[in-house]
Amino acid sequence: MGKGASEQTDAKDASSSKGDARPHTSEGFLHSEKYREHPIFKDIDINEKLLRKQFEKCSDVVFRPFALLGARKALIVYVDGLVDSKELEANILKPLTTAQGATAYGRDATLSTVEKYILPIANIEPIQTLSRTVTIILRWQVMLFVDGEEKALALSVSKWPQRSVTEPETEAVIRGPREGFTENVRTSTALIRRRIHTPELKTESMQIGRLTQTQVVLCYIQGLIDDKVVEEVKTRLKRIEIDSVLESGYIEELIEDTPWSPFPQIQNTEKPDVVTALLLEGRFALLIDGTPFALVAPINLWGALASPEDYYERYLISTMIRWLRYTFGLIALFLPALYVAITTFHQEFLPFSLLLSVAAARENTPYPAVVEALIMEFTFEAIREAGVRMPKAIGSAISIVGALVIGQAAVQAGIVSAPMVIIVAITGIASFTIPRFNFAIALRMLRFPIIILAGLFGIFGILFATICIVLHICSLRSFGMPYTSPITPLSIPNLKDTLFRAPWWAMRQRPYQSSKANLTRQSTAASPTHRIPGFKKQKEGSE
């Protein structure tokens, strides 16, 4: 896999050295050499003519000429639908066209007067070049041109139909906050900022995607995160040259460490509380405009098997559920393969009565166990996939068909054996216990080669596959951090949050993996030693 990473960088260098390979820019003639740096014309008619030419056949771009304070020619340009028309009327057109302003500031008030005294708008920016105004208009702002001025004003009154903050359907919890990010990146940053009250929470913004100009916000907490990681992620983001970024998946694939691995190395989440918790562990988050899914890295294997609820429920419950997940994670990966291996090679593993039952069930089946397992697993995946895409009303129909066809009819017709159906069902349930969808998918994919190996070599094949998987996982890195940390490399204090979830009063330090700078999370004040009278067996904490 290390080989793969180096090849990737080679490919990048090669493409950037060849100028021709760059994607064609489609930014219009105002961004060409001739006009790029040209200031705004004093004559408003030329500006209007050029802009109208630029926005030819764009029915949603509105040109609205008027007389500024009843005297000078003025023009506002904006994209209809992305601007709050009520605010536009009340706070821009009304003060600029009524006589009140004229009596106070004179009829020929300059643009800077307008900016300073007349417009009740929070976000105003003077713009110098015509090419920039095109960008601004497309970034959902209103451009105000005034005749005789060499600059124009960008007025931010953008508003468009938005989904409100709702509970994310992909990460439902029983206990915990129900807020989820929305497609608007500002809402997302607001949800995080509302939770962390420190100026050290940095939200660095950048645009990625030549045509989509998607806003990507890099969030981290300075002082908790390793600065090298921030540098690394910025370098990787800057390297991206792509025409569009429509979802965080684009970015994920463009910046992950090992693109050939089935295992996700960057976590995605819709939940602001998850992002906040991970930021506080010294990780960074990427919020991407247009999608509610944020990316978080560096992560490790155990994080992929953890749910936010682990930290909200009491620690005993969380620990038990965590072990349940670990067990069923292994079952999801190995159970069908084990069944195949045992029934075709190692029948002596089975207790006598189980042997009889399995032998009886397999008496009439036409296919060998491997083929049967592969058919059933494929069918199960197909039913799952069909169910995901269907509307709820049809989804239940699919589950009925699936249950009847596979569970009942196939067994009765003697095409598959009943134990195989049980195995597939358990495996299916097991893969759904893993909270992260993309991690569960990775396990599901790996199941098939393991089944084939088990059919060819028995337990030996399973062992071979296991060794390969373990080797691969151990070689994985997430932004330079070992994927299996803190088991390998072993860090005993951090095991508190892997094999079991220690109570909060015991987790006094942040994970060593991601935050080396500022480890202490809390003092000993709330530990049972101090909290419970008579609990003085331990020595007083050193801190």
Binding site: K3, Q347, E348, L355, A360, N364
Partner: protein, 401 residues
């Protein structure tokens, strides 16, 4: 070779190896003939040089498990197993001759019972044992039983009314703590030591109501001299063997009725059994002391003894002691005088304790054994006699007065 070309070569070899396999070791579970019990006997019991007949009881899983198609089959109406037989000069060849006729491969790992005919046992079990030890498929924890008064095939053919497979019934009987079990490993271990092995006998009986078919009974102990059977321990002697077996620690359910002086019976049940067999070497050669210490419950008191009084308890204890002593004496007399076989394991104990002196008597151990003095001490403690004390009968009469 560079690392990279090594890598490519390695991956290539791994991938190519997938196409070379034909899954030659693979056997689908439904292609197995699951052997649950087997038997061996001489073709002509009177002729010790005759061929060996092997019997194999193969389970029919479809009849046993019920499955989705049929539901549980009514017991008795359908056969749950098939009995096949084959002949050959040795046990292994007889088994092979069956395999050649069978469409399914033998699966010997769940063979839990081996029944040998009496005539075959008397000729010697060495070829059977050798085959079992050598065959990697065979399971060494199969119980060895000697058919008593019947041929093994009659026992193996019998449909036991209580369990689905007759082999299950035999295993359950073996594990019920009523029998002294011995499996292949233990048998071979004893055989390669300084002592002689034994095996439980199995007999066929009619059920008391007659019509419900026949059942097995495990009783009597077959005594072996090396690998050859020499005879049976019956009655008192076979019960005496219980007290000297390490396994009989588990013989919890064993109760015995003992006549007590003054008339009536006391039935006691074993709670704890400790026995120590101590060798010593005097001038006259080896001698043994057998110490048996038993804790008993009283199950039933049909005598005039008042068991809440220590004097009467002593009388009862003494009666039980006497009865056990008689059984052990009967055992040792039979073994020493009649069979000259050391199934209790004195030889092993002596060799472990006095390895040097053992060499001096090894050649004529048989004679030493039959003349060797053995001192037997039996101590019985009644630990729980129940709160009633004396018999209910006594109570009622005393109240009547």
């Amino acid at each position: 070779m560079t690392w990279r070309s090594f890598q490519t070569g390695f991956v290539g070899m791994v991938i190519l190896s997938f196409f070379c396999t034909g899954c030659w070791d693979a056997t689908e579970i439904n292609e197995l003939g699951i052997v649950v019990a087997s038997g061996a006997d001489l073709v002509k019991p009177s002729d010790p040089h005759s061929n060996i007949k092997a019997y194999v009881q193969v389970a029919l899983p479809s009849q046993l498990a019920g499955g989705a198609t049929g539901g549980p089959s009514p017991s008795g109406s359908q056969k749950t197993f098939v009995l096949e037989e084959g002949e050959g000069p040795t046990a292994a060849s007889a088994l092979t001759s069956i395999q050649q006729r069978m469409s399914r491969r033998f699966f010997l790992r769940d063979r839990r019972v081996i029944i040998v005919g009496e005539a075959y046992a008397k000729r010697g079990l060495s070829d059977l044992l050798d085959e079992m030890i050598r065959n990697p498929d065979a399971r060494l924890r199969s119980y060895i039983l000697v058919a008593h008064g019947v041929t093994p095939n009659k026992l193996l053919k019998l449909a036991y009314p209580l369990t689905r497979l007759p082999a299950d019934a035999i295993v359950e009987l073996e594990q019920s703590h009523q029998a002294i079990t011995i499996n292949v490993v233990q048998f071979v271990k004893v055989l390669t030591g300084k002592s002689d092995p034994y095996a439980m006998g199995i007999r066929m009986l009619n059920t008391s109501s007659g019509k419900q078919g026949r059942i097995f009974e495990l009783n009597d102990v077959a005594v072996f001299k090396k690998d050859k059977m020499v005879g049976w321990l019956r009655g008192e002697a076979s019960r005496g063997f219980f007290w000297l077996q390490p396994q009989s620690m588990q013989l919890r359910r064993n109760s015995m009725a003992v006549p007590v002086p003054g008339g009536g019976w006391v039935t006691s049940q074993l709670v704890i059994l400790n026995h120590v067999i101590l060798p010593s070497w005097g001038k006259a050669g080896p001698r043994f002391s057998v110490n048996v210490e038993i804790s008993d419950d009283i199950l039933e008191n049909m005598s005039r003894l008042k068991l809440d009084q220590s004097h009467d308890v002593k009388i009862a204890e003494h009666a039980i002691e006497q009865s056990i002593l008689n059984q052990i004496v009967a055992l040792l007399t039979t073994l020493k005088q009649t069979y000259h076989a050391d199934i209790v394991g004195f030889g092993d104990l002596l060799f472990a304790r006095y390895p040097k002196q053992w060499r001096t008597i090894e050649s004529h151990w048989d004679q030493v054994y039959s003349r060797m003095p053995i001192q037997i001490n039996v101590k019985v403690h009644i630990v729980r006699s129940g709160l009633i004390g004396d018999s209910v009968l006594n109570k009622s009469t005393s109240q009547g007065r």
